[in-house]
């Protein structure tokens, strides 16, 4: 079997405290993205279980699978859930969902759960989209910006490079930061994943340039380009007054690329800030947010579906 470097580990967790199953209102959220899907179960506002898997081409099957994985052996059935919120690119395929929610609200809400009330700027780093969200103190979305066309330069690009360089996706970020004290090389000219291969091969070419890059520098070159595109999205939320790019308040990353220090540290460096950290997996933000957003109404109904 060919080793697929771009594969990241799938996750499943359930609270040890089985008491959650007795909660009055149990809601769930699913976030069906283009390359990953997450589900979270919330019992009376507490996180009770979650799962995260790689998304297949069949979104419906993926949605069913991730939800089933999150509920695991708890014995809780879909019917027992007071409400299920669905978000993400493939949300319409979650046939079991009771509500469809926009991604921005879900990631904002989920980020507040994950990072606490301190977080004011949330950056969702997805496989094919980047969204920067500015939140009011009361969880409402103040403003948001999404990446331009074409979006295939984000997580998907990095997967491509990992496979090409035979670097596990969980390690590419660290490699890219280990440059022996040298500054970042120039970023690759494009973050289009269709061209990632061509350009990467070119960076290995020894002739003429005298500045051939080593493996780590090539990783750095790619992740730098991705980080820079993300900065272009984040900055759209700031004031138009003169000055460097910055974020107001605390920054929190969500989405798969939040795991990639090669991207996040470069963003932090440019913004002159340190992002918040959490015990929770930032990939779960959308799903947790969806579960929390459907909670108030479900609770008002007394937990009845």
């Amino acid at each position: 079997m060919v080793l697929q470097y771009a594969k990241w580990p799938e996750i499943q967790w359930m609270s040890d405290d089985a008491g959650w199953k007795e909660a009055k209102t149990i809601t769930a959220g699913v976030d069906i993205g283009t390359t990953s899907a997450q589900a979270a179960v919330v019992a009376d506002g507490q996180l009770a279980a979650y799962a995260g898997i790689r998304a297949g081409t069949d979104f419906r099957k993926t949605a069913d699978e991730v939800m089933a994985l999150a509920l695991g052996a708890s014995g809780i059935t879909l019917e027992r859930l007071s409400a299920v919120g669905a978000t993400g690119f493939g949300k319409r395929n979650a046939a079991f969902a009771t509500e469809s929610l926009d991604e921005v609200s879900c990631h904002g809400k989920g980020a507040r759960f994950i990072y606490g009330s301190e977080v004011t700027t949330v950056v969702d780093l997805g496989a094919q989209t980047v969204t920067a969200i500015k939140l009011y103190e009361w969880d409402r979305v103040w403003d948001f910006a999404m990446n331009d066309i074409c979006a295939t330069g984000m997580g998907r690009n990095i997967e491509m490079v990992c496979d090409l360089l035979h670097v596990p996706i969980g390690e590419i970020g660290e490699y890219s930061l280990d440059l022996g004290g040298k500054p970042d090389p120039e970023p690759v000219s494009t973050t289009c994943y269709n061209y990632a291969g061509t350009e990467t091969m070119g960076l290995f070419r020894p002739e003429f340039r005298g500045d051939t890059l080593n493996g780590n520098e090539i990783c750095a070159s790619h992740l730098f380009a991705v980080a820079w595109r993300v900065l272009g999205v984040i900055g759209k939320l700031q004031s138009l007054e003169p000055g460097d790019i910055k974020v107001e308040g605390k920054l929190g990353f969500t989405g798969g690329l939040a795991h990639n220090a090669g991207v996040t540290r470069r963003i932090e460096r440019e913004l002159d800030t340190t992002a918040l950290t959490s015990e929770y997996d930032p990939m779960l933000a959308g799903a947790i947010g969806a579960a929390l957003l459907v909670l108030p109404e479900a609770a008002e109904r007394g937990g009845v579906r």
């Binding site: 926009d102 921005v104 609200s105 989209t129 409402r140 331009d148 066309i149």
Partner: protein, 398 residues
């Protein structure tokens, strides 16, 4: 519907539905039928500052070359343009979709458009071509004289081509038809100011697009009937009110996506929208000067909004007058003219606390992605919008 039927006057041709989208879709059949019936010439035009009245006075049917996406396997050989709509135009023109067009006119404006025009000059030599210079500096004391003379040159070239002189009476008649047309469009547009408009954003956009490819006299009859029908319509539901600002759009897909999310587009500042019909020709003895002043004085497109800016204030006034809850700022990918203006527009909107969402698009909208943006934008706007809580009822409008 046969081509013949599409040119039947008035509402009968359309049925009660007033299907303007279908008129846009069948514009080629319409123009061919017009030609067969009248024996006149059809003139294609590219840029929003083209003085259609002069062509109309010369007995022609001026039709706007609209970007329409279809598989483009031909334009790349001729043009390197990062503007999709322009490539769409070249693709359509080279493939003969506009084979009924006898001539093409380009007005000083976007260079990609010019490039498309030039490709056609080099490919269909038998057509009539004219490039009209309209000053980019619209407000200099001498600009109007330049524009007036350019219009005179155009009229003269038409004469050389058709053999027919354009008389003052011809110009007066054309100006009257066009002024009336713009007045009717403004009347319909005013209805969008209602709390619960009787016309949707997509219907309005299709209507204005249809207006740009049809004989205005004929369109005026349809519009008169349409206004009557609008008077009978019941107000629609109270919805979030959006405005579209940015690069020219060539169909109503964005408005439709907004409507699919339960909101409505009630205003726009688009060259294919309100800017097309906003101001009228104020008649004066010197007809060409009257026309020059109209075109130099219209709400500026991004490329002509130079030196002391007018666009931001105009956008603000529209937003305020049409009571919009938020603005969609759409820009065709690589649209340099609107790209240049974004800073000024953002600045104004932020200073005046008008929420907006900015995004790039191609000539085709990436539908799922756009829907995701719209959904998020609308849910950002929705809380706290008091008109949605039935504000209008306080005034007994229901």
């Amino acid at each position: 519907m046969s081509a013949e039927a599409t040119i039947t006057r008035g509402a009968d041709a359309l049925g009660a539905a007033f299907d303007f989208k279908s008129l846009v879709d069948k514009r080629h059949d319409y123009a061919r039928a017009w030609k067969a019936k009248t024996g006149g010439k059809v003139l294609g035009w590219f840029e929003p500052y083209f003085p259609e009245e002069i062509a109309y006075a010369a007995g022609m049917l001026p039709v706007r070359i609209l970007a329409r996406h279809e598989v483009d396997d031909i334009s790349d050989k001729w043009i390197y343009s990062s503007c999709y709509p322009v490539r769409d135009m070249v693709n359509q023109l080279l493939k003969g979709r506009y084979d009924y067009v006898d001539g093409l006119v380009n007005v000083e404006g976007c260079q990609w458009m010019y490039n498309a025009f030039e490709v056609m000059m080099n490919n269909r030599e038998s057509l009539f071509y004219h490039y009209l210079f309209l000053p980019d500096y619209t407000n200099a004391a001498t600009s109007k004289d330049v524009a007036k003379n350019e219009f005179a040159v155009l009229a003269d070239r038409f004469k050389g081509w058709t053999g027919k002189s354009i008389t003052d009476a011809d110009l007066d008649a054309a100006i009257e038809v066009y002024n009336h047309n713009r007045l009717l469009l403004r009347r319909i547009n005013e209805l969008r100011r209602a709390d619960r408009p009787v016309i949707s954003g997509s219907e309005m956009m299709n209507l204005v697009l249809a207006d740009q490819v049809m004989d205005k006299a004929e369109m005026n009859v349809i519009l008169e009937d349409f206004i009557k029908e609008l008077g009978l319509r019941k107000p629609g539901p109270d919805k979030i009110r959006l405005m579209i600002v940015g690069s020219e759009t060539w169909d109503a897909r964005l408005e439709e996506l907004v409507e699919a999310q339960g909101a409505n587009v009630v205003a726009d500042e688009l060259d294919n929208g309100t800017s097309y019909y906003w101001n009228n020709v104020l008649p004066q003895e010197d007809r060409l000067m009257a026309l020059a002043l109209r075109y130099l004085g219209r709400p500026h497109s991004a490329l002509k909004d130079n030196n002391y800016r007018r666009r931001p204030q105009h956008i603000f006034e529209l937003a305020e007058d049409f009571n919009v809850d938020g603005v969609l700022l759409e820009k065709q990918i690589y649209c340099h003219s609107h790209g240049s203006d974004m800073y000024a527009v953002w600045k104004m909107l932020r200073e005046r606390y008008i929420p907006y969402h900015y995004f790039e698009r191609g000539s085709l909208l990436p539908e799922d992605e756009t829907a995701a943006r719209l959904e998020a934008f609308l849910s950002m706007l929705k809380p706290g919008l008091n008109h949605l809580a039935g504000w209008h009822k306080k005034f007994g409008e229901d």
